[in-house]
Amino acid sequence: MAAINANPILKAAGLSKNVPSGAQTLTILQDIELAVMPGEALAVLGASGSGKSTLLGLLAGLDAPSLGSVWLDGHELFKLDEDGRAVLRAKLLGFVFQSFQLLPALNAQENVMLPLELAGSRNAAALATAMLERVGLGARLHHYPKHLSGGEQQRVALARAFVMQPKLLLADEPTGNLDAATGAGIIELMFQLNAEHGTTLVLVTHDEMLARRCTRQIRLAGGRIMAG
């Protein structure tokens, strides 16, 4: 549970993202102000194209903003260089891409082992196997992404993010491809992490039920945060 008076683990101030589009510039995000406390679960809602994925990428430091700053556990992300951000991500962050981004040359287990290996874990294989079993893929350890269904790929991507037991999990539509039962299982898993390890969750979702389980919701429209 969130400690009183704690500093936000994630904070965004004046965050904007513009991209050139022909002769004009297209504003994807504008003036985002956001603070997420440790242990909180935040749902990001909004219509398709409203800028949710872009925001998530910026919060993880995977993308560069046009204006504004992001603080991750007190570190101002865009004052660091790429490597500095990577080190911070390795320490704190799990990220689930909307399009999964599994490596096609690695099988399910190897994909999940990747962050463990990056961190020098000694028993990466065992941890990865255990996590895949928890997301219901114990039987598909050695299958390659192209042989997995969309929902299975999504669960591998989730396992890859969960396996590090990150302090902060950013997930882009984690249940988007899953049937209700499997989706519910995944949601359980996330909130279990949240409860056991105090993992902060930032979830982009269209699923009202998932959103309601979160401690707080924000809604994006046209690149801005709507009230409520």
Binding site: A60, D63, L88, A90, P104, A105, L118, G120, H147
Partner: protein, 835 residues
């Protein structure tokens, strides 16, 4: 369908999808055409260069004056004309007299090549367009030595020739058409043709060679030759390039082979580059294709859509390539303008046609197979991503493409043997390389399995493990890389070796003097003369003159031979005898003399003459030597290195057969320029011997060889360019996957060092494997070319074993470095978005 194809071409072009493919095609066609254009022009220029050795495109020789009809015909056909008179006469200097080989020349001589003269002996010489002025003569060094005209040439240097006194005006250092003939042995004196009558030396009955020289446009010269040939009377004959000096011809033929080889390599490399680029294109379009199928397009309509797009691209790229090739060869031509002395003739249109055809075939043969694969992609791929295209159709199409290209290469280079070796070599390399690459990857994968981790110093293991994980793509990449590297090694190292071997055929200290007519009892004193003068004692060969009488008991019928063979048969042969063949002779058929033959008698004959006169191993040849008849079987056929400048014999007999016959001896040796006067002392000491000076022709041969080699070097650059393109497309082929991998790893918190270490270890292994394979390939193909095409002894260059892997490594590390910049500088999401 076509408008849609073109629209797609436009879209894909804007999306940057086709740029690499287009570039591959443009460079391919450009290199083929520019090699073609340039090789074509160089070929023509080389032919002209060779004509210098005749002093004209066509030389008419007769033992009597040429009729006016012929003279006028030359001019009437718009050809340039010059005349020379050659005869031998005594020349009187102030101190002594000397027999001279006199050449009287008209204005304009020589029509091809240039004369070079010096202002006095041992002074630097310069080219001149003049001929000796009336009343003056030019003499060569030997003549000057003989007459004692060694100082400055002023008006005091006078000589008497017949009834007239002449001033010596210059020392003649180079005469392009001064061939080597053992009858042309006296030192040279060159004079103006108009001065001949006054000397009174040429009268009816004197032994004079009358030469008419003609030059001009190739067609005109050919037409004139056709006109003249049937009109030749007794004692008249034609000399053209076809019967020019064998050692120069050998050199030129070799140059053409080199150029042909280069053009072939460029094409083969282009084929590889095109197929790599198309492969990448189709891989990126598999999804689009399946989606279009879902949207209701039929296989056939989709195929024609893509084929139309590619054809449009191909035609455009070929046109651009042709134009670029033309411009490129203009640039090269201007670069070599001062190297190739002869102005290059304008290129013909044939290379453009060849370039276009080859470009289209490349596209059809090597872009079609991956496209055909697209055709096999099931619509279901949209849902089930593992569904790929079937492989057999592609294999068939590749095979067809390779065959067509092979045929085209043979057509373009006009060299069946060379074409076979190149194509065979590459197919073999392809097979061996894929097996080796596969094995190596498997091995590496095994070696690091289970120990892979990305942490710290052992991140490299992760890289090696992922090498094995991507076996298929990596085999393709290693294959392409090693092919590209093979070509580059072949073109740098092996080419260097081949050219060096070629150049070394005429070493600096190759024999430049021949001595003929050494009597048996003079051998010992001659050797003593050499050692007294610190010249290495040369090998001396016996020489017996004999007439060819019969083959297998059937008397020789002169009329059955064509003109050249007839002249050979009518003359006396110079036969030699020895127990073992000289080192520069290579037996190509039969075997060396054995004990039994040394007793019973045997003959070894030269390959060319054996072919001309129809001699085979086992034939019994009968000779008349000093009134005696000798018969012996042919036991071997030898190949001679004509450009080695060694003493060569068409026929060598076992000593038992000829030892009793009247024998003189012949030798060749190297006389350094500083010891040139020795030549004259030798003549004075042994007046009966004839010392033939070959240094002028040697220099000429070296000049021609060097120029040719320089031209060849330039042509090589293009093939190297094509090789680099292959390397580039090979590296590009796994680029997408690496970008994604790096971006994802970074998103998962990998540091720059970790990403780089993982990729670098992979690249290092790839580079070493590919480079090692390339070194093997280059050595093997180089050996085959040397042994089977050029018939050089091949010397393995050990540096290639270092250079291959080093080059492979360098390529991949440069690539890794360049890729790392884009991978690591931009945020991961941007990298992912660009895939």
């Amino acid at each position: 369908m076509l408008p849609l194809s073109l629209k797609m071409l436009g879209r894909d072009w804007r999306a940057g999808e086709l740029r690499v493919l287009a570039l591959a095609l443009v460079v391919a066609v450009a290199s083929v055409t520019s090699v073609g254009f340039f090789a074509d022009r160089v070929r023509q220029a080389l032919a002209r260069e060779a004509h210098q050795l005749l002093g004209a495109d066509l030389v008419l020789r007769a033992d009597h004056g040429w009729p006016d009809e012929v003279r006028e015909e030359i001019v009437r056909r718009g050809l340039a004309r010059a005349e020379t008179l050659n005869f031998v006469s005594m020349v009187r200097g102030s101190a002594q007299a000397q027999l001279a080989s006199i050449k009287a020349v008209s204005r304009g001589y020589p029509l091809r090549g240039t004369l070079r003269v010096a202002q006095r002996m041992n002074a630097p010489d310069a080219a001149t367009r003049e001929v000796p002025r009336r009343g003056t003569v030019w003499i060569d060094e030997r003549m000057a030595l003989a007459l004692g005209v060694t100082g400055r040439l002023d008006n005091n240097a006078v000589i008497e020739l017949g009834n007239v006194t002449f001033t010596v005006d210059a020392i003649l250092t180079m005469e392009p058409d001064r061939g080597v003939s053992f009858f042309n042995i006296a030192p040279r004196l060159m004079m103006n043709l108009a001065d001949v009558p006054a000397t009174g030396l040429v009268q009816t009955g004197s032994r004079v060679v009358y030469q008419l020289l003609a030059s001009g446009e190739r067609e005109e010269v050919d037409a004139f030759e056709k006109w003249l040939s049937p009109r030749l009377a007794r004692g008249e004959r034609l000399r053209s390039l076809a019967n020019a000096r064998p050692e120069i011809r050998a050199s030129l033929e070799r140059a053409q082979k080199f150029i042909g080889l280069t053009a072939m390599l460029a094409v083969v490399l282009a084929a590889v580059a095109v197929s790599l680029a198309t492969r990448r294109y189709t891989q990126r379009h598999l999804d689009a294709y399946a989606v279009m199928r879902c949207l209701g397009a039929t296989q056939t309509s989709l195929f024609s859509l893509f084929a139309g797009e590619f054809l449009g691209l191909g035609v455009l790229a070929c046109a651009v390539g042709c134009a670029a090739g033309y411009v490129a060869q203009l640039v090269i031509a201007s670069l070599v303008a001062n190297l190739v002395v002869v102005p290059l003739p304008p290129p013909s249109l044939l290379p453009a046609v060849q370039g276009l055809v080859i470009g289209i075939v490349l596209l059809l043969g090597f872009a079609l197979p991956p496209l055909l694969q697209l055709k096999g992609v099931p619509a279901l791929r949209v849902i089930r991503r593992e569904l790929g295209p079937p492989a057999e159709t592609a294999l068939m199409a590749y095979a067809a493409g390779a065959l067509t290209i092979g045929a085209l290469l043979v057509w373009q280079a006009d060299e069946v043997r060379l074409g076979m070796i190149v194509m065979g070599g590459f197919s073999l390399a392809l097979a061996v390389f894929s097996l080796a690459a596969f094995g190596a990857l498997r091995f590496l994968g095994r070696a690091v399995r289970g120990r892979a981790t990305l942490h710290g110093s052992i991140a490299w293991r992760y890289g090696l493990a992922s090498l094995a994980r991507r076996t298929r793509t990596n085999v393709v990449q290693i294959l392409a890389l090693s092919l590209g590297l093979t070509a580059i090694l072949l073109l740098t190292f092996t080419r260097g070796d081949l050219l060096a071997t070629w150049q070394a055929r005429i070493p600096e200290n190759a024999p430049n003097r021949f001595i003929v007519n050494i009597q048996p009892e003079q051998r010992a004193p001659l050797m003593k003369f050499f050692s007294d003068n610190t010249v290495a004692e040369p090998q001396v060969y016996p020489m017996v003159r004999g007439r060819y009488m019969a083959k297998n008991g059937v008397p020789v019928d002169v009329d059955q031979f064509e003109a050249r063979a007839r002249r050979m048969v009518e003359r006396e042969f110079n036969l030699s005898y020895m127990e073992t063949m000289p080192g520069h002779n290579r037996i190509v058929e039969g075997r060396p003399f054995e004990r039994t033959e040394l007793e019973s008698g045997g003959l070894s004959v030269e390959e060319g003459i054996a072919k001309t006169l129809g001699w085979n191993v086992g034939d019994r040849l009968t000779w008349e030597v000093a009134g005696q008849s000798i018969t012996a079987p042919v036991t071997s056929v030898r190949k001679l290195e004509w450009d080695s400048m060694q003493v060569n014999f068409f026929v060598i007999a076992t000593p038992g057969l000829l030892a009793g016959a009247p024998t003189s001896f012949i030798t060749s040796f190297y006389l350094p320029h500083s010891l040139a006067p020795l030549s004259n002392r030798l003549s004075q000491r042994f007046p009966n011997m004839t010392v033939v000076d070959l240094s002028a022709i040697m220099r000429q041969l070296q000049d021609v060889t060097n120029q040719v080699i320089r031209a060849v070097q330039f042509v090589f650059l293009f093939a190297v360019g094509a090789g680099l393109l292959v390397l580039y497309s090979a590296l590009l082929s796994t680029q997408d996957e690496r970008v994604q991998e790096a971006a994802v790893m970074r998103a998962l918190g990998a540091t720059r060092t970790q990403v780089l270490n993982a990729q670098r270890s992979e690249f290092i292994a790839l580079g070493l494997i590919a480079g090692g394979l390339a070194a093997c390939g280059a050595t093997g193909i180089g050996y085959a070319i040397a042994a089977f095409v050029f018939q050089f002894p091949f010397h393995l260059n050990h540096w290639v074993w270092l250079a291959g892997p080093a080059l492979g490594l360098a390529c991949l590390l440069i690539n890794a470095f360049a890729a790392a910049r884009s991978l690591l500088r931009q945020p991961p999401i941007m990298a992912l978005r660009e895939l």
